[in-house]
């Protein structure tokens, strides 16, 4: 019971930390570390709630050596649990919470991937009809008067530029754009975004998940910028962005108040700040690891402690 309450308190605290975590520029300085931290935060919140439910539903079972002992212990514990009306309510609520959160998350992940696959199929069919391959073979060209560059991850991993985008960029800038898109494909950013999106859709009222989703969408772009800047000058990547923005489509609908991430991207390409130091990066990754391990550790602790008690004869009445 106490373990479950601790886990729930921890989940609330972790979710509540999201708005604070968004502040500052730490993630922009090392986008890859930032992505890991935001992913871990989402996972830890969901895992804590599920495991708290499980802990309420399944009272700590004494660790036993034989199946007969285990079953006897189960019956005793469950009898105790259901002998009081409160116990039954708590158990049912816990089981329901765990099952509901898992089912909702699983369903949204599943439907996200189904709809992505459907959209992918229709996209690649249109591309087969409309795209012509660039002589270099690196990307497809679609005739269109709006400048756009994107990639279609999948078996073929296509990179697509419209004819207007080609016209807006010189050879170096073109190479920078392709390097950026290649980085997306290589790092499998589409899966990272899809998972964040699915979690956000599963629990749209949880601000932490919506923040994690928008932060991850922003950070994968910065990560791809950084990877592109390894083989291209940073200013070339920035120039390609500005040129495409100038030749690009005017937004059809008003965007959210936060504006776009383009300005932050150009700024950090034009005047880069140093990436996180080794110590800070280490701390961030350690925090992410703790977030992943902690819920499970708390949930397993009672069972582990009974195991400990039994293997150490002191303080445990001999069963004979």
């Amino acid at each position: 019971m106490i373990g479950a309450l601790l886990l729930i308190a921890y989940a609330v605290a972790a979710a509540g930390a999201a708005p604070l975590l968004r502040k500052g520029t730490w993630a922009e300085r090392s986008p890859k570390v930032g992505i890991i931290v935001w992913q871990s935060l989402s996972v830890t919140v969901i895992a804590s709630v599920v495991l708290a439910g499980v802990m309420l539903a399944v009272p700590a079972m004494p660790f036993t050596m034989t199946l007969a002992d285990f079953l006897r212990a189960c019956v005793t514990v469950l009898q105790e649990q259901y002998s009081t009306p409160g116990g039954a309510v708590v158990t049912t609520a816990g089981a329901f919470t765990a099952a509901a959160v898992m089912a909702r998350t699983g369903y949204c992940l599943f439907s996200e991937f189904i709809s992505a696959r459907k959209a992918h199929r229709s996209q690649s069919r249109s591309l087969a009809l409309l795209g012509r391959r660039d002589p270099s073979g690196r990307f497809l060209i679609v005739e269109h008067q709006t400048a756009a560059a994107y990639c279609l991850p999948g078996r073929n991993n296509e990179i697509v530029l419209t004819s207007a985008a080609l016209g807006a960029l010189d050879e170096d800038q073109r190479t920078a754009v392709i390097a950026h898109e290649k980085a997306h494909l290589r790092a499998r950013h589409h899966i990272i975004v899809a998972v964040a999106e699915a979690i956000h859709r599963a629990f749209p009222r949880v601000p932490a998940f919506s923040i994690a989703h928008s932060e991850i969408a922003r950070l994968i772009e910065m990560d791809a910028d950084d990877r592109a800047a390894r083989s291209n000058a940073r200013l070339t990547v920035a120039t390609a962005m500005v040129r495409l923005a100038e030749a690009g489509p005017a937004p059809s609908a008003a965007l959210g108040a936060g504006g776009t991430s383009a300005l932050a991207r150009v700024r950090r390409l034009a005047t880069p700040s140093a990436p996180l130091g080794t110590l800070h990066a280490f701390l961030a990754v350690s925090a992410a690891t703790v977030m992943l391990v902690l819920p499970l550790a708390v949930a397993v602790a009672p069972a582990a402690s009974t195991a400990y008690a039994q293997t150490c004869p002191t303080g445990f009445p001999a069963s004979t």
Partner: protein, 125 residues
């Protein structure tokens, strides 16, 4: 691109470049100038294109005459609209180099870039 996709695109390419409707045999003869291909193969793919809504057809004797439901330009425009509609509300299907940006922000982007380029040329002097 897989073989079937190539054939679909070869057929659509020919349909789009024709002024009027065409029978399977017309397209077949056109393609056969470049490579050997069976009548049934072309017919099957054209039926598929009809089922997918890319080709219209009307009976003509014992066969059908086909015509594209959209011009190539219309089809490209619809495709790009779908691509660009993503905007900031992205799905996992496409990863854009850049989301759509309001005009005033484009000007800001340009200003940041110009300043950085100025600093660079000054530094190298």
């Amino acid at each position: 691109m897989h073989r079937l996709g190539q054939l679909e695109s070869a057929i659509m390419e020919r349909m789009w470049s024709r002024p009027g409707p065409a029978a399977v045999r017309d397209i077949l003869e056109d393609i056969q100038r470049n490579r050997d291909i069976a009548y049934m193969t072309v017919k099957t793919v054209m039926d598929t294109l009809h089922r997918k809504g890319l080709l219209d057809r009307e009976p003509d004797g014992r066969a059908f005459r086909y015509r594209p439901t959209q011009t190539r330009e219309q089809y490209a425009a619809a495709h790009m609209q779908e691509v660009l509609a993503g905007g900031s509300d992205r799905t996992a299907t496409l990863l854009h180099f850049l989301e759509q940006i309001p005009a005033d922000e484009v000007a800001q982007l340009r200003a940041v870039l110009d300043r950085a380029e100025q600093d660079k040329t000054q530094a190298s002097k």
